[in-house]
């Protein structure tokens, strides 16, 4: 028996497992059903017991080359073949190729009279005869409880059943025994007493008019197993169990970036847009432009060679195409080129698991690199909060496992309070953009925040979000003392600021001119003073000149007088010095 990778126990301790091939079940049980032992599958009517059993055999025969025997107590061979053909199981072909033996055991109580001791050796012989010729490794008994209705003596029956299970174990076949769910115990006739190695419970219940199938491993002797209730569904490829826990958190991560299609938004997200393979949540109240942001991303990605799959749960593809044309997006060429694909469905069309399965299938077929879900909240209508979260987890895990970038829009209901479910959902998301309405001044304006963006230095700023016929644009919202202003208030504020600036510019000009004038006046005054000063100086020079002239004239006159009087020269010279000193004084 091949040991599956994530088992840390040494192989000797580990219980050998028999892979069922049923999607998801082998992950829950850590490799499959206990090999060589019987497993009880119980559940109410119509919960998929027979299908489980058939799939176990078919997968065994086709994938693990283990032939099988199907001993049916309820349906005839022909009915069985017809029933499972719709799931793509070619039971008839497998029977022809001797991979599977179908045997219908028919018990009619009214034909049978009981007289004295007996045993069920006939059943053993029959089973043995079916097993041995094809070398069967797997056996299904569906539904063994029909024996209780057909055979009156329960004491004998119980003893024989005990012997049967022992016999099956000795035979070394892995058996699946189906049984009806009982009222107070797992099965109506207490078969779990005999089959004690592994018990799987199937359940089909209706919550709020929506039916969901669940699978639970009640018991698995000697092995670790997922104990939760896992939703499962019956699709057109058989059963698939959708485990949450099995996937784990070990996705490969990418450092690549992908543009959101809106340059300013890319700038807010560390300059280069979203991470490839990350999940993005876009929440917003009605009419805030969630679909538009998603559509922009879709267009940008599709144009840059990504394959985009758009799940729409609100609008038909044609409506989206029309509406997006109004903001300048043209999807038709992208659709024709095959890089964009729409899948639209009403959320109430089917249950949550069915939606999930459909989405998985679409993704597997189209192999997109970018997936949009618009809006994820519509799916809330198809299940409870808890289920939706589980579903979103599985979807995100699935997408991340495939390195697909995913964008989910989510509708919030007014106000600032975020719904509980969104908070729960947001923890699964790598980036969270919030679109919000601001109401005021008789208008609504949209703003956009980046609430979180794991692994990048994202902007903490509010940006006003404009949708026009040219497309989406982000502008800086006005943030001032009176709060955040958007829309016309932002424009009004800008105008007001402009006016104020103009006024102050004008005032300054005015003051400048006044000062210049004053300056000019002062200069004039200075010039006046200067000319006065100059004229005074001229006057002074003139006076000085006059004084000089007069002195010269006087000297000349005195000399002349002296000459004229002819005074004794020597005496005169002596005396002359005296009057001269007198005159000098």
């Amino acid at each position: 028996m091949k040991n599956n990778g994530h088992n840390f126990l040494p192989p000797a301790v580990c219980l050998p497992k028999c892979p069922t091939g049923i999607q998801g079940l082998d992950e829950i049980t850590g490799g499959g059903l206990p090999r060589g032992r019987p497993t009880l599958v119980c559940g109410g009517a119509g919960c998929g017991k027979t299908l489980f059993a058939v799939e176990f055999l078919v997968r065994g025969a086709t994938q693990f080359s283990e032939p099988g025997v199907f001993l049916s107590f309820e349906e005839t061979d022909a009915e069985l073949k017809a029933n499972v053909a719709s799931l793509g199981f070619d039971l008839a072909g497998l029977v022809r190729r001797k991979k599977i033996v179908l045997d219908h055991v028919y018990i009619e109580r009214s034909e049978i009279t009981e007289t004295g001791e007996y045993d069920l050796e006939g059943l053993f012989v029959r089973l043995n005869h079916a097993i041995d010729p094809i070398g069967a490794r797997r056996v299904v008994l569906d539904t063994l409880e029909a024996l209780f209705a057909g055979l009156p003596n329960e004491a004998i029956l119980r003893a024989e059943l005990r012997r049967l299970f022992r016999w099956l174990k000795d035979k070394g076949v892995t058996a699946v025994i189906t049984a009806e769910r009982g009222r107070e115990q797992l099965t109506r006739h207490g078969l779990e007493e005999y089959v004690s190695d592994c018990v799987i419970l199937l359940d089909h219940r209706v919550n709020d008019q929506i039916a969901t199938r669940h699978l639970r491993v009640v018991k698995y002797r000697g092995a670790l197993h997922g104990t939760n209730e896992f939703p499962f569904l019956i699709g057109d490829e058989g059963l698939s169990v959708l485990p949450i826990t099995s996937l784990g958190l070990n996705h490969k991560v990418s450092n690549g970036r992908i543009s959101s299609g809106i340059p300013r938004l890319d700038a807010m997200l560390g300059g280069r847009g979203y991470f490839r393979g990350s999940s993005i949540l876009l929440t917003g109240t009605p009419g805030t432009g969630k679909t538009s942001v998603a559509a922009y991303f879709a267009q940008a990605a599709a144009q840059h060679g990504d394959r985009v799959l758009f799940f729409s749960f609100e609008e038909s593809p044609n409506q989206i195409i029309r509406n997006m044309r109004s903001i300048g997006l043209h999807f038709e060429p992208l659709i024709q080129r095959g890089s964009l694909r729409f899948h639209a469905a009403r959320p109430t069309l089917c249950g949550l698991e069915m939606h999930l399965a459909t989405m998985f299938k679409e993704i597997a077929v189209f192999e997109p690199t970018v997936v949009m879900v618009d809006p994820i909240t519509s799916l809330l209508a198809a299940g409870t909060d808890h289920e939706t979260k589980g579903m979103v987890t599985r979807l995100i895990d699935f997408l991340k496992g495939r390195q697909v970038t995913s964008l989910f829009t989510s509708l919030t209901h007014g106000g600032h309070a975020l719904q509980q479910s969104e908070i729960a959902m947001s923890s699964l998301m790598d980036s969270w953009l919030l679109l919000q309405d601001f109401e005021g001044n008789g208008e609504r304006n949209r703003v956009l925040y980046v609430l979180k963006a794991r692994g990048m230095a994202h902007s903490n700023q509010v940006r006003e979000f404009l949708i026009s016929n040219r497309g989406i644009d982000l502008v800086d919202a006005y943030i001032g003392p009176s709060g955040v202003l958007t829309g016309t208030s932002r424009v009004a504020q800008a105008v007001r600021e402009k006016a104020e600036a103009l006024a102050s510019r004008q005032e300054a000009g005015c003051r400048k001119r006044e000062l210049e004038r004053k300056h000019a006046t002062l200069e004039q005054q200075i010039a006046g003073l200067r000319s006065e000063y100059e004229s005074e100086e001229m006057e002074l020079r003139r006076i000085e000149e006059q004084v000089g002239t007069r002195t010269r004239v006087l000297t000349a006159e005195r000399t002349e007088l002296a000459r004229l009087r002819h005074a004794d020269a020597t005496v005169a010279n002596r005396r002359q010095s005296k009057p001269k000193s007198k005159s000098q004084r």
Partner: protein
């Protein structure tokens, strides 16, 4: 009640007066239960159907494919192939009374 049933049997039942009773006893090896069943059957037939019956003993261990044809689960099983319709009696046939009722040789009361 009794008289009415008897009347019906008398008037329209060909079974008691059927020419040949074809009986099959399915066994799986020579187990004590099988042997008991066979001797019980032999006794009842001698008592009630003398000269008009044929018993076939089939051992499933030798011919396992036969179990499918008559839908045999319990061992031993006695199958009345003729007269129609087919009746099955399981067990070691130790209760003669029930065997007679099962074979429609006596009305149930």
């Amino acid at each position: 009640m009794k008289t009415r049933t008897v009347k019906r049997l008398k008037s329209d039942s060909p079974r008691r007066s059927a020419k040949l009773w074809q009986l099959r006893l399915y066994v799986a090896g020579q187990t004590p239960k099988s042997l008991t069943a066979f001797s019980n059957l032999k006794e009842i037939c001698e008592d009630h159907l003398k000269g008009r019956y044929r018993i076939e003993v089939l051992d499933l261990l030798e011919q396992p494919q036969l179990s499918k044809g008559d839908q045999i689960l319990a061992i031993p099983t006695l199958v009345r192939k003729l007269p129609q319709p087919v009746r099955k009696i399981i067990g070691d046939l130790s209760s003669t009374e029930r065997v007679l009722v099962g074979l429609d040789l006596r009305s149930a009361d």
